[in-house]
Each structure stands twice: as structure tokens, then as C-alpha cells.
């Protein structure tokens, strides 16, 4: 049997085996090498590129908080806006659209075209102010080439100029620049959050728990003002400033018990929604940042100190004849000589001679201590930016003349809020509250300025000021007993000394006089129409504002049946005026 040669059984030649193994080894090296290159050499680059294609960082928006009044009415709000921008060369390529866009933007199309042509080389030009989303949508829906919108947030002030100086305003980047916007920046500002997500090809988020940084929206700030009273106060103040041809004015209404300011306004004003007006002098909140000499309005505080020390009694008689009083080189004068008067008369006729004599009897230290009691030596601490500090020199620096002038309110300065705080103490039976502009937080407990009996006695005297023969009968509010005091302060002249022609007309008062709920201050700066006395210029504003405020806050009248009213048959209560009015008719 010949052996059949089986070709497959032939021994494999050695080189073939080596070749196959070699090829396989080469393949393995190539694969491993490529893997090495991708996994180790180019790893970072590839991960970055991959992430770039589907991992996105998404911003979580955080809005700035709103500012609201005590009843929740918005005074400052962030709302979305859109700003239109264009690529000039793209838009110019389609002339029909240029005029359509110009029309919606409220610009003349020839002017708009020139505007674009001048900027043809740029690839990004803003062509509108921030618009509401609706308006922006109308422009975008034209489908014009190269027209886009950029969304952002803008700050709106719905109450406009009525609350402008108090609320302040924000800059372009949304930071508070003035007023409460600045003071409460840390509360109002929101912190934008961030999250990293994976998006699929259609842009949908498919995974979002990669990294997460929480957004912190800004908190709301609640102010103590009541927008209804604020509006009323602003309207009357603006009216009075215009009528008296005055340089400016301010008004403050506060709650006597809590020290919460219900209205605070100044003239001239400005509209915070109009960027151009933000540089005017109207942006200053005069009632907080301006200090002035208080004049006769401090006489009741001097009398309170005199009563408190027991040196004078309400019935004490003071001889003011002949209407002048010499203290060293100074001659104190009364406009009308008053003769021998008691303390009530001193206040109701605002006798400078009487006040100076009371002050000289008390002595410098006691007068100074009295003003200190009413907080004239310390700031009001409202937290409002730029709050003015009072200037009250130490009594050790006072001479005879300084003591006399301080007795009727010259030689030291304070802000409107100081006066309001001091009168709130008189109104609140001697307890002086902390003046507050922002609600929430812990209020400091009130300080005792004078005893309750002294405060009541002074209040009773102050009712005479508003009586028909007092200096401020125009401050009377129908149905309420009002206690208050006028002041007509000469302003310091540029040349030194006091200007005879430039005055500040002041009225400060409270109601209802028996248990006051509200204290109000009106200052008209340099009235130039004929009258300049506080009782003629400022008192009517006080009357109108307080009447409205008392009605809005439903403060019960305390005037009983003392007022001579028309007989019943002739009176008709307006519908919806409430029970109080019917009772008195």
C-alpha cells in the first residue's frame, strides 16, 4: 500500500507560521497603539471636544427682589425686556425690511438707513432701547434678515416720581445706586445659579445631575410707607411748591407709636423710569440727607424740658415786653410784642423773646440736655444712604448768645426725621420710637424722652397753635383736634449771617391731639410768592394730607360735637363716608 500523501498533513513550513503570528502581532500593536494614542495621548482633548458637543452649562436665573409698600403694592419690579440688535450689512441687503423695521422702531426710514450705513462694517449694533417682549416680538416677526433680540431684565418703578427719592434706582448692570435699592442691595440682589446638563442632538436636556449650583433669588423688601398716603402727600407737596413758587419742599408722615414712616417725599422730584432725569438734583431724598436749622419748631421741646425739670409750670408767666430782649450783642425780637404771657401763649404766638428767656433761665447745660433727650445729638439710623448727621455742639462751647439762639432753634442743625422723631415722642406720651423706613427685623425699643404728664401738657399747649388765634389755624383738620407748631426759619445767606428774604416755612403737628396716631411734617423751601410764614404756606398742606391720611387709616375723630356744624336738615353725608361722619352731623 502506497501511502497516500495527504497534502494537509504535510508539515507546515516554519516561515508561514511566523508570518501569520507576525501579522497578528502587528495588528495587535496597531490596535493597542491607537488605543494608547486615544486613551492617553489625546484623552483630554477628546473629552473636551465630546463635552463641547453635548454638555452645556445652563444658567438658572435669579431675579432681583421687588420693593413693595406696607400693603404689598409694588414700588420696584424686575420685568423681562428685549433689546433689538442688528447685523447692519445683512439688514441693508433687504431694503424693504429696513423701512419696516424703522417704522416699528419709530424712526424715519431714511435716517435709519443712514445710521446703518455708517455702521456697515460692524457685526453688532443695538437699534432700540429695552422693549417689552410683545413689542420685540412684533419686530422679530417681520422676518427681516440680520435682526435679533437680546433678552434681559429691566427695573421698573410703577409709582414713578411719587416714591422716587425713597426707592432710588438701579444702574444698567442691575446694582442699586441710590435709595433703598442701594441700602438693601444685599437682600434684593439675586445670585445666578448654574447647572451642567447633557443635551441630545435636538437640544433636549437628557441628563442634568452632573453639577449643580443653586440659584438664590433676591428677597423682597417691604417698606413702611403706605402708597395711598405717599401719593396724597406728594401731590399736595408738589402743588404747594408750585403755588408758592418755592425752591423745593419735603413732607414726612409717620406713625407715632411704631415710628414707621408712612409717607416721605421731596420736591423737586424725578421720574426714575426716565434715565435722563436721574442726574437731576431731584434725586436727593431731602428729608433724610439734608440738615437744616429747625427754628421755632424746637420751642415745644424746650418747654418740655422746662416742665420736666420743674423750673416752669404751664401757668408760669413770662414778661416779654417790649418785644425785644438783649443778650450781649444779640437782640432777640418778636414780630409782634406779646406782653406778659404764659407758656401756652408763648407757643401759640411763637415768641422768640419768651423762648430765649426760658432758655436763659434753664441755662446752657439744661437746654442742651433737653435737646439730647429728644435725640438731636445722634443720627436717626434709618440705614438710608447718605443720611445726614445732626450738628449740636456741646453746651460747654455755648456762650450766652448761643444759649439764647438755641432756645428758638438756631445754631444747630438736624434732619426732618429728627424733628419727626422728637414730635413722635411728644405724641407718644414721652416714649420716642425708632424711625423706620423698612419693615421687618427687630425694632429697637422706644426711649423715654420726657414723662407722660409733660408730653400731655405740651400737647395741650400745642393745640392752641392751631386754634383760631394761633399761628397755624390753617393746619386744622375738620373733625380732629390737632396739636402742632409752626416755624419760619431764615436761611443762612451765602455772604454769611441770615438772609432776610429766604425762608423755610415749616409746620409739624400730630393728630388726634388726645391720643395722637400720626405725626406730620411739612417744609416748604424758599417760598417766593407773597407769603412765607409756616402757618400760611406749610400748614394748609399738613391739613389736607392729614385729613386724607386719617380717612385712609380710619382714625376715629376726637373732636366730639365742639365744632359748629350746619344744622341737620342742611347736611347730607356723602354715600360711603362711614359712621363717624353721620354721628357728628
Amino acid at each position: 500500500m502506497t501511502a497516500i500523501v495527504n497534502p494537509s498533513a504535510e508539515p507546515v513550513r516554519g516561515w508561514r507560521r511566523i508570518l501569520v503570528l507576525g501579522v497578528l502581532a502587528l495588528g495587535a500593536v496597531v490596535v493597542l497603539g491607537r488605543a494608547f494614542q486615544l486613551q492617553i495621548v489625546e484623552r483630554d482633548f477628546l473629552i473636551k471636544e465630546g463635552d463641547k458637543r453635548h454638555i452645556r452649562t445652563v444658567e438658572i436665573p435669579a431675579h432681583r427682589g421687588a420693593i413693595v409698600d406696607r400693603r404689598g403694592e409694588p414700588l420696584a419690579l424686575s420685568a423681562p425686556v428685549e433689546t433689538i440688535w442688528v447685523v447692519p450689512s445683512a439688514l441693508l441687503g433687504s431694503p424693504g425690511h429696513v423701512s419696516a423695521v424703522a417704522k416699528l422702531l419709530g424712526r424715519r426710514s431714511s435716517e435709519f438707513e443712514r445710521y446703518l450705513k455708517a455702521r456697515q462694517n460692524r457685526s453688532f449694533v443695538y437699534v432700540s432701547d429695552p422693549l417689552s417682549p410683545g413689542e420685540a416680538k412684533r419686530i422679530l416677526s417681520l422676518g427681516a434678515p440680520g435682526v435679533f433680540s437680546e433678552p434681559s431684565y429691566a427695573r421698573y418703578y410703577p409709582a414713578g416720581e411719587v416714591t422716587s427719592q425713597l426707592v432710588g434706582f438701579c444702574g444698567r448692570d442691575g446694582n442699586g445706586l441710590e435709595g433703598i435699592e442701594r441700602a438693601q442691595e444685599s437682600v434684593l440682589a439675586g445670585h445666578v445659579g448654574e447647572r451642567r446638563v447633557i443635551r441630545d442632538r435636538a437640544g433636549r436636556v437628557v441628563e442634568d445631575n452632573l453639577e449643580y449650583q443653586e440659584a438664590q433669588p433676591g428677597g423682597d423688601v417691604e417698606l413702611t410707607i403706605d402708597l395711598r398716603i405717599q401719593y396724597l402727600a406728594y401731590r399736595e407737596l408738589k402743588d404747594a411748591v408750585a403755588r408758592n413758587d418755592a425752591r423745593g419742599g419735603m413732607i414726612v408722615v409717620a406713625d407715632t407709636a411704631t415710628g414707621e414712616v408712612l409717607a416721605i417725599a421731596a420736591q423737586p422730584g424725578f421720574n426714575p423710569n426716565n434715565l435722563k432725569e436721574r442726574v437731576s438734583r431731584g434725586t436727593r431724598n431731602r428729608a433724610v440727607v439734608d440738615a437744616f436749622e429747625p427754628g421755632s419748631t424746637v420751642k415745644p421741646l424746650l418747654i418740655a424740658q422746662a416742665l420736666e425739670l420743674g423750673i416752669f409750670q404751664p401757668s408760669s408767666q413770662i414778661d416779654t415786653t417790649p418785644g425785644t430782649f438783649k443778650v450781649g450783642a444779640l437782640t432777640v425780637r418778636d414780630v409782634h410784642p406779646q406782653g406778659v404771657i404764659d407758656l401756652t401763649h408763648l407757643l401759640s404766638k411763637s415768641s422768640n423773646v419768651g423762648a430765649a428767656k426760658v432758655g436763659m433761665t434753664l441755662g446752657a447745660e439744661s437746654v442742651w440736655a433737653g435737646y439730647q433727650r429728644f435725640g438731636f445729638g445722634e443720627p436717626v439710623y434709618t440705614g438710608f444712604p447718605g443720611e445726614a448727621s445732626p450738628v449740636l455742639r456741646n453746651y460747654a462751647d455755648w456762650g450766652q448768645i448761643a444759649t439764647a439762639t438755641a432756645s428758638y432753634g438756631y445754631g444747630f442743625s438736624l434732619t426732618a426725621l429728627h424733628l419727626v422723631r422728637a414730635y413722635a415722642a411728644l405724641a407718644n406720651d414721652g416714649l420716642m420710637p425708632q424711625i423706620r423706613l423698612v419693615r421687618g427685623g427687630q425694632a429697637l425699643p422706644p426711649q423715654r424722652a420726657v414723662s407722660a404728664s409733660t408730653a400731655r401738657a405740651v400737647r395741650q399747649m400745642l393745640e392752641a397753635v392751631v386754634a383760631p388765634d394761633g399761628t397755624a389755624r390753617r393746619a386744622a383738620v375738620p373733625g380732629y383736634r390737632v396739636a402742632g407748631k409752626t416755624g419760619t426759619v431764615r436761611k443762612i445767606a451765602d455772604t454769611g449771617g441770615y438772609d432776610r428774604k429766604r425762608h423755610q416755612a415749616i409746620f409739624i403737628g400730630m393728630l388726634p391731639a388726645q391720643r395722637p396716631r400720626l405725626v406730620g411734617l411739612v417744609i416748604i423751601d424758599e417760598p417766593k410768592a407773597e407769603a412765607y410764614y409756616g402757618g400760611l404756606v406749610a400748614a394748609p398742606v399738613f391739613s389736607k394730607v392729614m385729613q386724607g391720611a386719617a380717612r385712609l387709616l380710619q382714625i376715629a375723630p376726637d373732636d366730639g360735637d365742639q365744632r359748629p356744624g350746619p344744622v341737620r336738615e342742611q347736611t347730607v353725608a356723602l354715600p360711603g363716608t362711614g359712621v363717624d361722619r353721620g354721628r357728628r352731623s
Partner: protein
Amino acid sequence: MRRGQLLLPLMLAVAVFASALVVVRTKHENRALVGELDGLRAEHERLQMEWAQLQLEEATLAHNNRVEKIAREQLGMVEPDDYVIVDAQP
């Protein structure tokens, strides 16, 4: 004995396969929910914007200046003062 030995790996293989299907399904559901969440977030954002706009609109319409003007000029209203004397003629 032999059959029992084969059954266990077979059952495990089926279980692995089933579990793999569940993973796929869960993953899909997860993505769908994430997508929904994202949509709702956008909706929330949009509604907040709308709320701010509506508040603004309300405040503008209810501005005291405007209310006063309409009350006085169109509706002939006056502030309730203390007393009003009307003519009692028939």
C-alpha cells in the same frame, strides 16, 4: 443531574437579559422625565416673567394719578369732606 446543571446558567442568562431590558427602559424613562422637568422649568420661568409683567401692568393701571384723573374727570367724584351742603329746594 445534567439537566439541572444546565438550567441554572440558562435562568441566569434570561435574568441578565431581562435586567438589561429594564435598564434600557429605566434609562429611557429617566431621560423623558428629565426632559419634562426641563420643560417645566422653562414654563416656570416664563410664567414668572408673565407674572412680573402683569404686576407691572396692574400697577400702571391702578396708579393713583390715573385713578384720580378718571374719578374726577369721567366719574365726577370728589373727596369725602366733612360736610356737604346741598340745596334743599324742591
